[in-house]
Amino acid sequence: MTETAAPPAQPPASPIDRRVPVGRLRLLYRRNGRALNALVTLLLVWAFFAANNPALFLIPGYYNAFLFSVPATIIMTTALVFVVVAGEIDLAFPSVIGASGGVFMTLVLLGLPIVPAALVTLALGAAIGAGIGAIVVWGRISSLVATLGLNFFIVGIVNLLAQGRNIESRDSVGSWGYQVFTGRWDVLGLQVPNHFLMALLWTALLYIVFRHHRFGLRVQLVGDNADSARQMGINIDMVRVGAFVVSGVAAALCGVILVQTANMVWFPTSGRAYLLIALAALFVGGTPVWGGVGTIWGAFFGALTVTLIPSGAVGAGFAGFWTDFIFGLVIILTMVAHRFSGARVR
């Protein structure tokens, strides 16, 4: 026994109070690593092309065509993040792009001004998305199979209605509504079209919903562990349908933009080219296939990357035959890079 007074008892510090503060840069990387990887990929691809032909790649005007064609891919890819993160896949969006474009043009020919016609088309896209989601969720069909079938089905309906004919409305070119979508702003020698600004706004909107809204958070939780989400009272069916609605609205917006960038001409094949491009952009953008996590800005950078490759390869002096080779190489290399930064945790 000692006579010295024991030091006053102190409550043991909780581990949470002893935690090492995480540096801001590390926190930034932890939260946005996948998106940053996608940005680095884009910069590397650009630098590779630019190094081969610096004179061309440093002219702002070189990117005019790029900014004109990239928005549809951006809008579709960022929306697909919701579907893939929810643990599903949507292969039917190309048909929705095509169908929406046709509906939009029909409405314009019926005399509706472009902006109201576009809004009606977006509502239709949402409805088609909800229908696709309902078939997948309540029909209990794998979304891979269901949307593959639905893509053919919707394309089939479009073909039967269009009978192979284009729909044109040359009179609307140059109208106020047309300018809303395709008008350009001159920024330091670069022609920035309105529909590119729309794509930026759309991406920002989806980012906020994905990261900060209850719906976006629940999409991630459902994709990570649907059973857990259900047991915690999340209506997982509605969340999944919601993800397909996002995809449907995006496809409708793409349909509306594509006919306008084609000078108000709709082709029955409109949208079909986007299937593999948008999916490649999504995965290059750092959203993994297994669901639960993903990145909207990564998808944005992924869309820029895959759009840059075909024209960039030619601009850098490669013969056109190289395009697919470079395309494939970039996809494989970025997949390997994403493995390092974001292996799946269970």
Partner: protein, 261 residues
């Protein structure tokens, strides 16, 4: 029906295809007690727990919370009624942070549905401190998939605690936990009981359950076999003997139960 019953399952029948997992089970959970739910594998324990949690909506029978029938019975309805469950598999989203998991399905959000992340982080920190569950330095933003089994259990328990629920259901909470972690779970159960709330504790280890529970409910082959206050049993060995008898003969000698303690 007595006034102190919080949740009551009445004649619950649950079928999966042609298999009848529960054939008319009635169970009353009383306010402030620790109820030990026992039964062999395949007895219907986990179906009963999932029914209590709202994961299964019974095919027949009804669920009453504080005397009022609740229908439809969903996980959301159960949580709204003040029943929180720590599932055997812990029901976590491993790719997400501790905060996101604690507020899964019940985010702190504004009227437009935008999540108040800073408040959630603050609340999560408070809960984790309250539980004192983690063994290492951690951060509410840590990914759950990087945590140990005991830490994950801590997250699941913190989630059950958040809303000051009346009834906390712990389904096999000590499975795959170390000795110290198991002790923590027991201390937690005692703390919850001391705060006047109810715990339903499901366990394989009868010694564990015996120490902690006030009352036992034993289920066998989809039916309630017997139930009784702890004072009616001589000790865990007595309860084990009864359960052996039940497993072999399909019925337990209820006369043995009446022996006063």
């Amino acid at each position: 029906m007595t006034a102190d019953v919080v949740v009551e399952l009445c004649d619950i029948v649950k079928r999966f295809g042609s298999v009848e997992a529960l054939s008319g089970v009635s169970l009353a959970v009383r306010h402030g007690e620790v109820l030990g739910l026992l039964g062999d594998n395949g007895a219907g324990k986990s179906t009963l727990v999932k029914t209590l949690a709202g994961v299964h909506d019974p095919d027949e029978g009804e669920i009453r919370v504080r005397g009022r029938k609740v229908s439809p019975w969903t996980p959301r309805a159960a949580r709204d009624a003040g029943i929180e469950t720590v599932f055997q598999d812990r029901a976590l989203a491993p790719q997400h942070s501790i905060v996101t998991n604690i507020f899964m399905g019940r985010e702190i959000a504004g009227s437009l549905g935008f999540v108040r992340h800073a408040r959630q982080v603050e609340e999560a920190g408070r809960l984790m401190r309250e539980i004192g569950f983690t063994s290492k330095v951690f951060d509410p933003e840590s990914t759950v998939g990087h945590l140990s089994g005991g830490e994950r259990q801590g997250v699941a328990i913190a989630r059950a605690l958040y809303n000051r629920a009346d009834v906390i259901v712990l389904d096999e909470p000590t499975t795959a936990l170390s000795l110290t972690e198991t002790q923590k779970v027991f201390r937690f159960v005692e703390a919850v009981k001391a705060s006047g709330r109810t715990v339903v504790f499901i366990g394989h280890n009868i010694h564990h359950v015996f120490d902690i529970a006030d009352r036992f409910f034993v289920i066998d082959r989809g039916r309630a076999a017997f139930e009784g206050q702890k004072s009616r049993f001589d000790g865990p060995e007595h309860l084990i003997a009864l359960m052996h008898e039940l497993a072999e003969t399909g019925r337990a000698d209820l006369a043995a139960l009446r022996r006063p303690a």
